[in-house]
Symmetry: C2
Subunit: 325 residues, 2 copies
C-alpha cells in the first residue's frame, strides 16, 4: 500500500498538505486538492487507520492507569474495563505506574497529544493538581481529583460498617485495623466508619497499622502480619485489604492460632485469592465488573459527549461469607 509520503511526492506537495486535504483542517486550494486526489487514486492509496484517526481527531484508544497490574483487584478491574471498552468499539492502552508518578504524568500528556481519547485512572501517585489542569475526559476510581473529574468507587463507609458489625457479632474485643495512608481516597471512609462503630460499641482496643500506600507485595504484608502477632499476641479480630487479611490468616495458621474460634479475619475486595485459601476468607466484596462498566460508560459519555456525568458514582458492597469470622 502506498504511504502518505508517496502520495505527497506524486502530487508534488508536502505531506502536511496531503494531511490537511484529508483533514479538512486548513486551507488547500481546489487545484492542489485535485492533484492530491489524483495521486491517491493512481497509487491506490487508502488512508490507513492512523490517517483516519487524524481526520476524526479521535484515536479510539482509552488509557487505563493502575498502580500494579499484578494485584488481583487491578487485574480484574482492567480485564473488565478492556472487555467493556471493546464492546463499545474502543481499545485499551494500559499503564502500570508501580508508584512512579512520572508515568502518570506521561499518560496525562498523552491525552494532550491525542494518543488516547480519555483516561480511566485508578492510580494515586500524582498530585491532584496535575489532574485538575486537564480539560480532556478523565474518570477517577476511588480517589477524589476534584469535582470536575467524575469519581467512581464503592461504598467504602458501608464496607467498614459491615465489617464492624461482623466483629461485634463475633464478640471481638481487641481488633486490629490495617489501613493505608493516602489523602483524598475513598478507602478512608472505610477505616473511619469501622473504627467509629467498634469504639461506640465499647470494643476495648481498636489498634491500627498503616501500610504505606502503593505497597502491594505479599512479602511486605507478611512481615506486617508477623509484627501484629508479635506485638499483640492477644489480638482477636483483624480487618484489612485482602492481602493484609490473607497474610494474617497465613501467619495465624503457621502459629496454630484457631481461625475463626480465637481470631476473626475480614478482608476487603474479596478478590480471587480470598476464595482459594482454606477456610475461605470472609470479606467485603466490591463488584469489580460493575465498577468497570460504570467507569467505561462515564468516560465514554464524556468522550462522545453523549450525556452529562454525575460527579460522584457510588456502588454497593456486600459480604462474602467465608469461614474466617
Amino acid at each position: 500500500m502506498a504511504s502518505i509520503r508517496e502520495v505527497a511526492q506524486e502530487a508534488g506537495v508536502g505531506v502536511g498538505t496531503v494531511s490537511r486535504a484529508l483533514n479538512g483542517s486548513g486551507y488547500v486550494s481546489p487545484e492542489t486538492r485535485k492533484k492530491i486526489e489524483k495521486a491517491a487514486k493512481k497509487l491506490n492509496y487508502t488512508p490507513n487507520e492512523l490517517a483516519r484517526n487524524l481526520y476524526h481527531n479521535k484515536t479510539g484508544i482509552v488509557g487505563v492507569i493502575v498502580p500494579d497490574l499484578e494485584h488481583p483487584f487491578f487485574s480484574s478491574l482492567v480485564k473488565h474495563i478492556e472487555m467493556e471498552l471493546y464492546e463499545q468499539g474502543y481499545k485499551t492502552m494500559i499503564c502500570n505506574t508501580v508508584g512512579i508518578s512520572r508515568r502518570e504524568q506521561e499518560y496525562l500528556d498523552m491525552l494532550e497529544r491525542n494518543i488516547v481519547d480519555g483516561i480511566i485512572t485508578a492510580s494515586h501517585g500524582l498530585e491532584v493538581e496535575e489532574y485538575q489542569k486537564q480539560t480532556k475526559p478523565i474518570v477517577s476510581i476511588d480517589r477524589d481529583l476534584g469535582s470536575r473529574i467524575p469519581l467512581i468507587g464503592c461504598d467504602h463507609a458501608k464496607g467498614g460498617k459491615l465489617a464492624a458489625e461482623l466483629m461485634l457479632e463475633a464478640r471481638r474485643r481487641k481488633v486490629f485495623l490495617v489501613s493505608g495512608i493516602s489523602p483524598n481516597v475513598m478507602a478512608n471512609d472505610r477505616y473511619r466508619t469501622f473504627r467509629q462503630i467498634l469504639e461506640e460499641n465499647g470494643v476495648v482496643a481498636v489498634l491500627q497499622e498503616e501500610m504505606g500506600w502503593n505497597i502491594f507485595s505479599w512479602e511486605a504484608h507478611y512481615k506486617m502480619a508477623e509484627e501484629i502477632f508479635r506485638l499483640h499476641p492477644d489480638v482477636d479480630g483483624i480487618f484489612g485489604s485482602d492481602l493484609a487479611a490473607l497474610a494474617c490468616l497465613n501467619v495465624a495458621q503457621r502459629k496454630g492460632i484457631r481461625v475463626p474460634e480465637d481470631l476473626s479475619i475480614i478482608g476487603f475486595d474479596a478478590m480471587a485469592p480470598s476464595g482459594m485459601v482454606y477456610p475461605q476468607l470472609t470479606a467485603i466484596r466490591q463488584n469489580v465488573e460493575l465498577l468497570a462498566e460504570i467507569s467505561v460508560n462515564a468516560l465514554l459519555d464524556m468522550v462522545e459527549q453523549r450525556k452529562n456525568v454525575p460527579s460522584r458514582l457510588i456502588l454497593d458492597v456486600e459480604i462474602q461469607r467465608g469461614g474466617t469470622v
Copy 2:
C-alpha cells in the same frame, strides 16, 4: 501554530531531541526536557502525535494478547511486558481474548492497519494459519505458530521432570496429572515428560484429567478437584497448573486429608496465590519477569530491525519449595 523546528531553535536543541522529549521515545535529560517544555509553552506548540506517527509510519504501540488478564500468570506477564516496553519507549495495548478467537483476529488486523507496530501473543484461540499469513512482527509465548514466528517459553519438559522427581522422592504410587488439551502448545512437553518418568519408575497408576483449554475459572477447577477425590479417594500425588493444584489443596483440607503426609501436591507457574495458602504450594516456577523481557526484546528486534531473532527461545524453570510435597 509553531513548528517543531521553531521549538527546537527556541530551546537551542535539535529537532530529534524535541521529538524524543515529546514522544517519550528515548532518553532526554530532565534539564533539556525542561528547556523544551518551556520553549513549547512559549510558542504555544502542541504536537500532534497522530500526525507524527503517520509520518513515521510507526505508532510506538505494541499489542499484547492474553486469554484472561485476571489469571495470575497473565496479569504478571502483562505487567512485566508493559514495564519493559515502557523502558524501550513503547506503549502497551492490551487484549483479553477470553476464548473468543474473533478478538485475536481483530488484533492481527490491527497490525495490517498500522495501529500497532507488533504483537506479543499468549493466546491460543485462533488457527495457526491465521498467524502464518502475517508478515509483520509477532512473537508467540508458549504456542508454536510455525518457524517464522519466534516461540518463547519456559522449559516445560524440565518442569515435568522436576515434578516427577519430587513425586518419586515422596514415594507416591497413584499420581494424578491435570493437563490441558491443545495442540502445538509447549505445555504438552511437560505432561509427556512427567508421565513418562513416573511410568518408567514403576508408579502404579498415572491418571490424567484434561481440563478444557482456556478454562481459568476457580469454580471449574474446584469442581474438577472434587471429582478427582470422589472417583479416586486413594490418590496420593497431584500435579497440575497452580489453579488445579490450589483447588485440590483446598478440597483436601476441607476433607481432612493430610498434606503432605498422605498427599503430595505440585503446581506449575508458582504465581502469587501459590504463596498465600498454608502450607505454601510446592510448585515449578517460571521466571515471568525474564519471559516478559525476552519477549519484548525479540519483538522489538524485529520491529526496529535491530537483529535477527532465534526461532525458539527456551527459559529455565526451578522448584518453589513449599510445604505440599
